[in-house]
């Protein structure tokens, strides 16, 4: 879009090209031409449209994402109720996409600003196109009206470990600090948040729980809605971008459309893909939160670099909520299993293990290093009449197959690392074939082992790593799990 500079109440403003009707037109420039746009003072005599204020509060949106007219937006801007800034700006000598933080751009001949080389950001284009002529609109995050009775409808009892972590969460929210809750798989980390959330919401703080994965948003939103029946929970994921309340459960991707919004930012599974490898997701999260607010990280497997942040306060929950130790994986040498598979054979040690589990009526979840291996193994299993299904990240029927596995309609499920997190199935037996592969990092193996023994009815799970040569990751994962069990034992938190 192009704008002209003008005056309003003796203050310098910019006016979109389309709002000029007269035949004598001023000179127009792409918005990136206006390098500093001062915040205009609120005009008390102007009566704002509260729908616009609410819609834009704490958001960071492109023109095409806002369902209000340009005239209305302009009126709210000149009267101090909202801000606009160029989508791409030069900061510290470097161009930057103000929405995703990216630094490299492509350019094109733009009909909107008539520049022969208008730059645009390819990094976040899937969420709408930011160009050097796009304005980004935002309004200050508003304080929400007092919500009457915020009552937590949850009467469960926290374990000792959960209680300690819960106190740390409350304290971080009260003092606007950061904290890492390092909670083993199956420790019940969602419950650890309940009291902190109740406190934050009673103080009318805006809260966001961010996670890299849509599955988690969809699972968490109804759980939280159930324990806070008086509130509206806003789940955000692809296709659902506009919140209806200040209590948001969002994918890290969706946070791209927020700015200075949340008093409390909780990041679940900080180490999960793609958050762990995509710096723009960190940018989104950081932009969406108020810098003066609190920041809470949750994970079972923090990375080395994450733990090396000296200033970060860490609270560990080494025990599961049911008080039984984490199952320690066994290492099983399976020889050159790839070669065997090529010949249509399965290592007998794996067959024996699977048969043992099936005799004990346990659902079997097997992990493999790649989609190709899964497909190969599926063929061999089919030949040997071992009834199984396979899932991976590119499988459109993934959710349905997992559901069938959960209902025990499928006895064996073959998976890529896609199911390493978040799947909870009672009495499950878990194994990895090809544990020596590079995709099975320490944290991946700890997460995989963490699928077993989660239910209080069946706390002793069987976990096996079948391998063709021990790796450091395998040893580190076992050491990690043993250390947690030892720490829980020392605290007296185990049965």
């Amino acid at each position: 879009m192009r704008f002209a500079s003008d005056l309003f109440n003796n203050k310098e403003i910019i006016v979109p090209e389309f709002l000029y009707q007269s035949s004598k037109l001023p000179e127009f420039f792409p918005i990136s031409h206006y390098t500093s746009l001062p915040q205009l003072p609120i005009n008390q005599r102007f009566k704002p449209n509260m729908k616009i204020i609410h819609f834009l509060s704490g958001r960071h949106l492109l023109r095409d994402e806002i369902p209000f007219s340009l005239q209305e937006l302009h009126a709210h801007y000149v009267n101090g109720y909202l801000q606009l800034e160029p989508g791409i700006q030069i900061l510290h000598g470097r161009e930057r996409c103000m929405r995703c933080g990216n630094h490299t751009f492509s350019s094109f001949s733009c009909a909107r600003c008539q520049s022969a080389s208008c730059e645009y950001c390819r990094n976040c284009i899937i969420m709408g196109k930011v160009t050097s002529c796009s304005p980004l609109y935002s309004a200050p995050s508003r304080r929400y009206e007092a919500i009457e009775n915020i009552t937590l409808q949850w009467f469960g009892k926290l374990s000792e470990g959960q209680q300690e972590a819960s106190n740390a969460v409350i304290s971080a929210i009260q003092n606007n600090h950061s904290v890492l809750i390092w909670a083993v798989c199956g420790s019940g980390k969602t419950e650890v948040l309940f009291h902190g959330l109740a406190y934050a919401l009673s103080q009318h703080k805006s809260v966001c729980i961010a996670t890299p994965r849509t599955d988690v948003v969809l699972e968490l939103a109804p759980r939280l809605q159930k324990v806070f029946p008086g509130l509206t929970v806003s789940p955000l994921y692809a296709g659902h971008s506009d919140p209806t309340s200040s209590f948001v459960i969002s994918t890290t991707h969706q946070l791209i459309r927020f700015k200075d919004c949340f008093d409390v930012m909780i990041i679940d599974e900080v180490d999960a893909f793609p958050y762990s490898v995509d710096p723009s997701l960190h940018f989104h999260v950081n932009k969406a939160r108020k810098q003066s607010g609190s920041l809470i990280y949750l994970t079972a497997t923090p990375s080395e670099s994450f733990l090396n942040q000296e200033t970060l306060n860490t609270v560990r929950i080494p025990s599961r909520y049911h008080g039984y130790p984490l199952p320690v994986p066994t290492l099983q040498w399976s020889g050159n299993w790839r070669k065997k598979m090529e010949k249509g054979q399965i290592p007998s040690i794996l067959i024996d293990w699977i048969k043992k589990q099936m005799d004990a009526q346990k659902p079997v979840l097997l992990f493999f290093p790649s989609i190709k291996t899964i497909e190969k193994v599926k063929c061999v299993f089919d030949d040997q009449q071992l009834f199984c299904e396979a899932v991976h990240s590119e499988d459109p029927n993934r959710a349905e197959k997992v559901l069938q596995f959960r209902r025990r309609e499928i006895p064996i499920l073959l998976s890529s690392t896609i199911l390493e997190r978040g799947i909870t199935i009672e009495n499950i037996a878990v194994a990895v074939l090809g544990a020596e592969d590079g995709v099975f990092t320490e944290s991946a193996l700890v997460q995989i082992a963490g699928r077993a023994g989660r239910s209080a009815s069946y706390p002793e799970g069987d976990v096996a790593f079948f391998h063709y040569g021990k790796t450091n990751a395998m040893i580190a994962a076992i050491r990690h799990i043993r250390k947690m069990n030892q720490e829980a034992e020392e605290k007296g938190w185990l049965h």
Partner: protein, 240 residues
């Protein structure tokens, strides 16, 4: 422009692939990764002499001699001389559909530029007799909405860029204000000649992203021929 170390379509690292291509003189292939390239289906003969679609891909009931029945119908309705011939590069499969959506609807111009060299090479090789290349014009509203014309991008920065003699009809009359005859045959109103432009006796090449029913291209060619163009050809990326 983005550097070419990643496939503009899927983001795959293509440094190695590119250097191998250079070594074997395969510079003619598209600047994307091999996996993506292999998902495009080039249209191969025998082709309809008129619209350039593959006659093998359609039911034999719809083949009449060396033409497809769609083109025979155009001829029967008196449109046979309007468009001399169309050529298309690829079948409009799901993959190309996805790529064109990224290009046109998401507005990722870099995605579309992958085709520029292919199209330019073809224009230079097979259409050297042409007086002017005309990227299919977009309406003003569409231009603003997308921010660019997807066909102009393919020839940007080359000698083929010229002021277009063709434009979409401005301020179309409301349907209700038209006569019945005009409502049905709205072809004259889809395009018009730009004021002052001269196409008299010229050989013209229309450039578009897709030939589906051929309606747009025929109507554009009709307007040009009506204004005195001698012949009108068309070249499209895909054949729907």
């Amino acid at each position: 422009m983005a550097t070419l170390d990643r496939c503009p379509w899927c983001g795959e690292d293509i440094n190695n692939q590119l250097s191998w291509q250079l070594l074997f003189g395969m510079r003619n292939s598209l600047p994307c990764c091999e996996t993506c390239r292999n998902q495009l289906l080039p249209i191969v003969g025998p082709l309809c002499l008129k619209c350039g679609r593959s006659l093998q891909q359609i039911d034999s009931r719809f083949v009449e001699g060396k033409q497809c029945s769609d083109c025979v119908r155009w001829g029967e309705r008196g449109w046979g001389e309007v468009l001399t011939h169309n050529k298309s590069f690829y079948e409009y499969n799901d993959f190309l559909k996805k790529i064109l959506a990224l290009y046109k609807f998401r507005g990722d111009v870099e995605v579309g530029r992958v085709f520029s060299s292919l199209i330019l090479r073809e224009v230079k090789r097979s259409y050297s007799f042409i007086d002017q290349v005309i990227p299919m014009p977009a309406s003003q509203e569409r231009m603003y909405e997308r921010g660019f014309n997807q066909c102009e991008v393919w020839i940007e920065g080359t000698k083929f860029v010229q002021d277009s003699p063709l434009m979409r009809t401005k301020n179309e009359e409301k349907q209700s204000k038209r006569t019945r005859e005009k409502r049905i045959n709205r072809e004259e109103e889809m395009f018009q000649i730009v004021e002052g432009a001269n196409v008299l006796g010229k050989k013209l090449l229309l450039l578009d992203d897709i030939y589906t029913t051929g309606t747009t291209i025929h109507y554009a060619a009709f307007t040009l021929k009506n204004a005195g163009a001698s012949t009108v050809y068309s070249l499209t990326l895909s054949r729907g």
